[in-house]
Structures are given as C-alpha cells and as structure tokens.
C-alpha cells in the first residue's frame, strides 16, 4: 500500500499532472471571463464563489451537510457496488441467470432517475434511506454490466489451467475471476463515483431535508448565486477526493502486477 501511495505521489510530479493543473487554471480563466460578461445573478465570479465557500466552511451547517452527503454517498455507492458485483458474478457464471436478469437490467438502466426519485419518495418518504436506495438502485446495473463483461473477458486458457489443477468454483472466483475483474471494475468505478455523486445530489435536491443537495436547493431558491457555485465546487471536491485520494491508491495497489 505504501508503494501505491508513492506511485500516487510520483504521478503528482508527472507532466500529465502538470497539464491537468494547467487545465484547471484554463477553466478558471474561462469562468472569470464569463463572469465579467454575464450578470452576477447568472454567473458568480471565481472570487465571489471562493469567498462564499470560505464563509461557508466556517459554519456547522456546511460540515453537517457534507458529512450527511458523504455518508449517503459512501453507503449508496457501496451498496450499489456490492449488489451489482454479486449479481454480476452469478450471472457471469451462469448464462441462464444472466438471461433471466437481462430484462431487469434493461429496465433499471432505461428508467429515468426522476421517476426513481418519485417512487423512492413514495416508498421511503423524505429520508436518508430514500437517497441511499436511489443511488444503489441506479448504480448497481453499471457495476453489474462491467462485472459480466469482465468475467467474459477472463482468459479461457487460464480457466483451463485452473481446471487441470482442480480449483473449486470458490477458488476460481478468489484466484482467477475477482483479480481479473479489478481492471474492468476500476474503469466502472470512475463512472460509478461521478454518477453516484450526481444522483445523490439530485435525490437530495428533490426529496431530502438535509445534505449538500438540500442546502443547494435553499441557495437556489434564495438566488444566492455565489453559494450555488460554492456548493458546485464542494461536489467536485467530493468526487476528486473519492476518486484520486481514496479509490486510485486502492486501484494501484490491486493492479500493481501490471507495472
């Protein structure tokens, strides 16, 4: 794990990272130029936004909202991930179960998030469970599909070797399938984290009485543009922290054999 943190630090020194930082400054520049030409109610300037953010982080409301959303995001993504992964493994091992689950997969992936929010509000009311349900419900098919694809991509020769050396189904799962799935799942997790954050904020805006989305909807109804943009920065920070400080080192650790 230490070497993976070292890899992450090395990445920070790379030219790819430097160009990414330049990209951030380019975006900030565009934002600043836009804010000069647009009315401040329409687009807050970077200065106004970061100034508002500075004020917000000094309040308890801000940290409570962040904690509630972080908790929901963590549980929702974890639950969606586990459900999608388990069903993906079962469907990957059994073609009949895959076919049986296909209509459900299609339905969950095709249904509009707004409809899911509406149904979840009826079922769970305005509560944390509702937000977690929506996130898990909408994210599980992404993990499910990628797990199946990953299982289909496992080298047949390796499976044959495992059969020669009498690996049980469980041993194949632990030593062959799951390690082989980490690559495709790592790619899926980037989508899951970013989509997960979007879904959770959407659910909180539409049907929660706490969290970042709820605070955002307040700022929106007050037409407090700097605060709206400040919350936007916070959600981006959430995704960034989850992806680059939490998930990437884990991914690097499990895929260290590739380097």
């Amino acid at each position: 794990m230490t070497s993976c943190l070292y890899d992450t630090l090395e990445h920070l020194k790379s030219s790819k990272f430097i160009y990414s930082i330049l990209g951030v400054f380019f975006l900030l520049g565009l934002w600043q130029i836009g804010s000069i030409y647009m009315h401040e109610v329409m687009l807050a300037s970077p200065f106004q936004t970061f100034n508002e953010l500075y004020k917000m982080i000094q309040t308890n409301v801000f940290w409570t909202a962040c904690w509630i959303t972080a908790k929901r995001a963590f549980i929702g993504i974890l639950l969606g991930g586990i459900v999608g992964f388990i069903f993906g493994i079962i469907a990957g091992l059994n073609e009949n179960i895959k076919n049986l689950l296909e209509p459900m997969r299609w339905m969950v992936m095709s249904i509009s998030p707004i409809i899911v929010v509406g149904i979840a509000m009826m079922w769970f009311g305005i509560a944390t469970q509702m937000v977690i349900f929506i996130a898990a419900f909408l994210l599980s098919p992404i993990v499910y599909v990628n797990t199946i694809k990953g299982m289909e991509m496992v080298d047949e020769n390796i499976i044959e070797m495992a059969n020669v050396y009498k690996f049980s189904v469980f041993q194949k799962l632990i030593h062959v399938y799951i390690p082989a799935l980490i690559g495709p799942l790592a790619a899926a997790m980037t989508i899951v984290i970013t989509s997960g954050m979007r879904i959770i904020i959407l659910a909180e805006v539409l049907g929660a009485n706490s969290g970042i989305g709820y605070e955002f909807s307040f700022a929106n109804s007050d037409m407090n543009t700097p605060q709206i943009f400040a919350w936007l920065i916070v959600t981006l920070a959430f995704v960034g922290i989850a992806e680059y400080l939490f998930f990437k080192p884990i991914e690097n650790y499990f895929l260290r054999w590739k380097n």
């Binding site: 020769n157 020669v164 050396y165 009498k166 054999w257 590739k258």
Partner: protein, 227 residues
C-alpha cells in the same frame, strides 16, 4: 509396473470432425511417452482427455492418476500472482501444508534457475522464465503423470535447448511418467522411452525406440510422411 492410463477404443468428435478414431493405448508408471504428429492431428486432445478437460465421445478411458501436472504451449500463469505464488497455489489447493508447500515451490523454482525471481510478477519475466515457472508448477505438485504439450514450441532455439536440458535433469532427479506431445522428432527422441506417431484421423502407431542416428533420421522421415 503400474498401469496409469488406459485408452480403450476411444473416439473424439468435435461437431462432425472426427479427431480421434478408435484409439487404444496405455501409459505405465515407468513410461516417458513421446507422441509425434503434425499440427491438428489430435495430439493435444489426448492430453486434454487425460487431464479431464474433455470427455471422449465413445470408448473407455481408465485413469488411475490422482494428480496430473500439465505444461501447456503457453505458460498460463496467473498474471496477478508472483512466480512463487503461481507455483504455490496448486500445491495449497491439493491440500499441502503451507510451509511444506512453500519449501517445495522454492526448491523447484531454484531447480529451474529462478532463484531470486520468486517475487517477480509474470509481466516482469521473459518468455523462457515464464515457461520455467510453468514447469516448476507442474513438477512441484509431484504428479502421478506429467503432461507436456509442446512446452518449448514458442521459444527460440537457444532457450529451447537450455530448457530441454533442465527438463532432462529434473526427470533424472525426480522420475515421473511423462506424456510428451510434440511435432519435433528431435525433441521427443531426447526424452522418450516409448514413441508414438500420430496420423490424421487419430490413428496412432507405436515405433520401436532406438538411440542411434539412423533411428533419428527414420523418425524425421516418418514424421514428414504424416504431414
């Protein structure tokens, strides 16, 4: 002399293609059998039938082996496990105690000249080293029968010769019955005490083994006739 494998009128058909036809032969505990034949005549199918990877379409296959070691044309290592872990895993799965299994795995990796590379991942090893790990994996299991499916066919001549020498030494130190499939008469003649020639349609014929040069020439000519 114990009878390990017995093929009794075995047929193997893939869809409409009859790969093996009425095959009968046996493998005994002292045998090092070389099966020669052109590509596609069904040599590998024989090994797969023995290893339980395939089932005969017709006939009876008596298999008295408990553990089979298999070296494929490609190393077939788990890329996310180190060389040591790749050798160790089948041993642990076969029920060997961890410490004993590790000792055995290290011993065979050392025998294969991989001392110091135990903790390397397959992506960090050369083609020859990977095949040596695969050989170590098969030997470490101490199988009742070792199946070798053209194990050196993807290696260059120099490397092939090095690995052949290593294999010969290992077989001298740890004699195990072997079924060696190849399309190279030179390769087979080095190891085998029984040689079979396999022809298209799965017809197999045992040849008398002789170590002199005339026999090697005869074998080459006979092999060319199978093409």
């Amino acid at each position: 002399m114990e009878k390990l494998i017995e093929f009794k009128n075995i047929n193997k058909t893939f869809d409409t293609l009859e790969v093996i036809k009425n095959l009968s032969f046996e493998v005994n505990s002292t045998d090092i059998i070389g099966i020669l034949g052109a590509s596609g005549v069904g040599k590998s199918t024989i090994l797969k039938l023995i290893a339980g990877l395939d089932k005969p379409t017709k006939g009876t296959l008596i298999n008295n082996t408990k553990k089979v070691g298999y070296v494929f044309q490609e190393p077939r290592l788990l890329p996310w496990k180190t060389a040591l872990q790749n050798v160790l895993l089948p041993l642990l799965i076969s029920g060997k105690q961890k410490n004993k299994a590790k000792k055995k795995a290290l011993y065979y990796l050392d025998k294969m000249g991989l001392n110091g590379f135990e903790n390397y991942y397959p992506s960090q090893l050369s083609g020859g080293m990977l095949q040596r790990v695969s050989l170590a994996r098969a030997f470490a299991l101490e199988p009742d029968l070792l199946l070798l499916d053209e194990p050196f066919s993807s290696l260059d001549i120099r490397l092939k010769s090095v690995l052949e020498t290593m294999l010969k030494e290992l077989l001298t130190e740890h004699p195990i019955p072997v079924l060696y499939v190849s399309h190279s008469p030179e390769e087979v003649v080095q190891f085998a005490n029984r040689i079979f020639m396999m022809f298209a349609g799965g017809v197999i014929e045992e040849l008398p083994v002789d170590e002199d040069e005339d026999f090697k020439e005869f074998l080459k000519d006979a092999f060319l006739m199978t093409l």
